[in-house]
Amino acid sequence: MHNPYLPYPVRIESVVTESEDRNQKTFKLVFLNPEDEARFRYMPGQFAELSVAGQGEIPIGIASSPTEKGFIMFTVNKVGKVSSHLHNMQEGDIMGVRGPLGNWYPWDTLEGKNVVIIGGGFAFTTLRSSIVYMLDPENRSKYGNIDVVYGARMPGLLLYKEELAAWEQRDDINMHITVDGTTDPNWKYNVGFVPTVTKEKAPSADNAYAIICGPPIMIKFTLPVLTELGFPPDRIISSLEMRMKCGIGICGRCNIGTEYVCKDGPVFTLEKLATLPNEY
């Protein structure tokens, strides 16, 4: 019987400090056993439990795309016990990964649709996975226009800066990068909060779905903008966070009403969320 609690052993291949405040680091992990890599088949939107022996496990969104082979990638914000320990780990260190866990963005439904991606702060991880996935030459023709609104408090806090710059250069994705404020005279992109920039850029709701991830306050003020643009609740998709342990719907802690965020989520439409208690 496959043991869903047993992490696959992985080696840290690289550690990159993403943000100026050094609170976010990106870890590329390589499976020690090729069979484990073959079992770890995921879709953008899923997450995994990162396991550090002696410290514990943390649920982290998968930031790499299944189209990127040979490694998996996670961007971890330094918060408490496990994430702080992880921040001090080095290339070559051995740790574990358990997953993939949870559901994913509805890629089948999104085929033939325009996709609007809205992200804030360090919750951009599974959105990066989604963008890389859609831009893959094998996949790009399956989706219509891709609009991305991505904001951070200041330029130094944006994740994946080189990739953002590269996407800006492409004509098959409309990037709207923004910061709350900056003193950098060379800042080429937008200044303003995510809801305001979304309103300005007004991506069309025609045949479109919106995927939104970010701090609760950003989501709260962006949802009315999306509604105004004509996105109905069944075409607004979000990913939720709850404290987790098992990640497989058994330990009982991450429920919102009848739904376990780890197993029935973390991805929900706004339409579904409206039927659940507002307790998250």
Partner: protein, 349 residues
């Protein structure tokens, strides 16, 4: 299915015989109360009990259990890699379990054993266990199994049902597993009046229970309406969030996972946890979706009486054992909560 009669004085001999063939677990008197444990002496099993203080869930889901072991010794090439631990899954007999508790395991199965994800420890322990239940001739005042779909002679989840008919026990096989167990023992001649006696005992036991509430009157209500009902204000008022109710309950399965380390050896542990504790849902960021007592109390009752039935279509996640009613230090009574959920908040006149 076969049925045999075991004269009272023969029972210890049969227990001894089973002990030779299986690991045997049963109710043992602990000085103040009964608990289920592995039986070392045939005479230690005491079937003259109402029910154990703790539910027998620990037989399948121990309060504290090592999930994996690991070494942190850098010299060891396996350092930092979690390893499975050998466990004893040899056949075992659990004797004297009450019908409510056996039924609780059936309700818990839908959590631990799903089509796509299986908790291997739960599933294998369930597989290697034969449950020999003991019908309740004298339910106590806090029992309400018949209000939640069970009964004092219910056989759901059991492999064998024992009925105490006075001078002995009638053992009825319920499953092929139970059939196999009974095939191995020599019964005594069945007294002619036994079948009638069983009928009478069952009727009397059921009659003594009555209906504490009507399940459909709240399971059919809208989830959000129940969630936002003012009744939770009243229910939570006296609760001290001690978690005792969850600890004793056979259908409270929530757990935490924590690593323990001593020098360079460690283990990943799983430990009972409970929705009554603020840390249960506390995010590293400081945000807590159930930071208030009201939210936690509501979670416990809504999970049992509304979320679970809605999710699985399997009835409520309470078997009416009454343990939480007995153990709560401030006398919060799930039967009263169920009635409030049926009728809305009724303040005492």
């Amino acid at each position: 299915m076969s049925e045999i009669y075991i004269a009272r004085e023969k029972l210890p001999g049969i227990v001894e015989q089973w002990m030779g063939r299986y690991r045997l677990f049963g109710p043992v008197f602990q000085g103040q109360y009964h608990e289920f444990e592995q039986v070392k002496q045939p005479g230690a099993v005491d079937l003259d009990f109402v029910n154990t203080k703790l539910s027998p869930k620990g037989l399948f889901h121990p309060q504290a259990e090592k999930m994996f072991e690991f070494t942190l010794d850098k010299q060891n090439p396996e350092a930092g890699i979690l390893k499975e631990i050998p466990r004893d899954y040899s056949e075992r007999v659990i004797l004297g379990i009450r019908p409510c508790d056996a039924r609780a395991f059936v309700l818990d199965d839908v959590n631990f054993n799903t089509n796509d994800i299986k908790d291997p420890w739960w599933v294998r322990r369930r597989e290697c266990s034969t449950l020999v239940g003991l019908a309740c001739n004298d339910p106590c005042s806090t029992c309400f199994c018949t209000s939640v779909g069970g009964g004092p002679f219910d056989t759901a989840g059991l492999d064998v049902l024992l009925v105490d008919v006075g001078d002995g026990f009638v053992a009825q096989a319920v499953t092929p597993k139970g059939e196999d167990l009974l095939a191995g023992i020599q019964g005594d001649p069945m007294p002619g009046e036994a079948p009638q006696k069983i009928e009478d005992l069952k009727k009397a036991a059921e009659a003594s229970l009555g209906k504490a509430f009507q399940v459909e009157s709240f399971t059919q209500k809208n989830m959000l309406d129940l969630f936002s009902d003012p009744l939770w204000e009243e229910v939570q008022f006296s609760c001290i969030n001690c978690g005792t109710c969850t600890f004793v309950c056979p259908t409270c399965w929530c757990f935490d996972i924590q690593d323990e380390v001593s020098e360079d050896k460690g283990a990943r542990m799983r430990l009972w946890d409970a929705c009554m504790f603020p840390l249960f849902t506390y995010h590293g960021s400081g945000h807590n979706p159930r930071g208030q007592k009201l939210q936690r109390v509501r979670q416990r009752f809504m999970h049992k009486l509304k979320y679970y039935p809605d999710k699985y279509g399997n009835g409520v996640a309470c078997v009416g054992c009454g343990r939480c009613v007995k153990a709560c230090p401030v006398n919060i009574d799930i039967r009263q909560v169920a009635r409030l959920m049926s009728d809305g908040c009724v303040c005492p006149a």
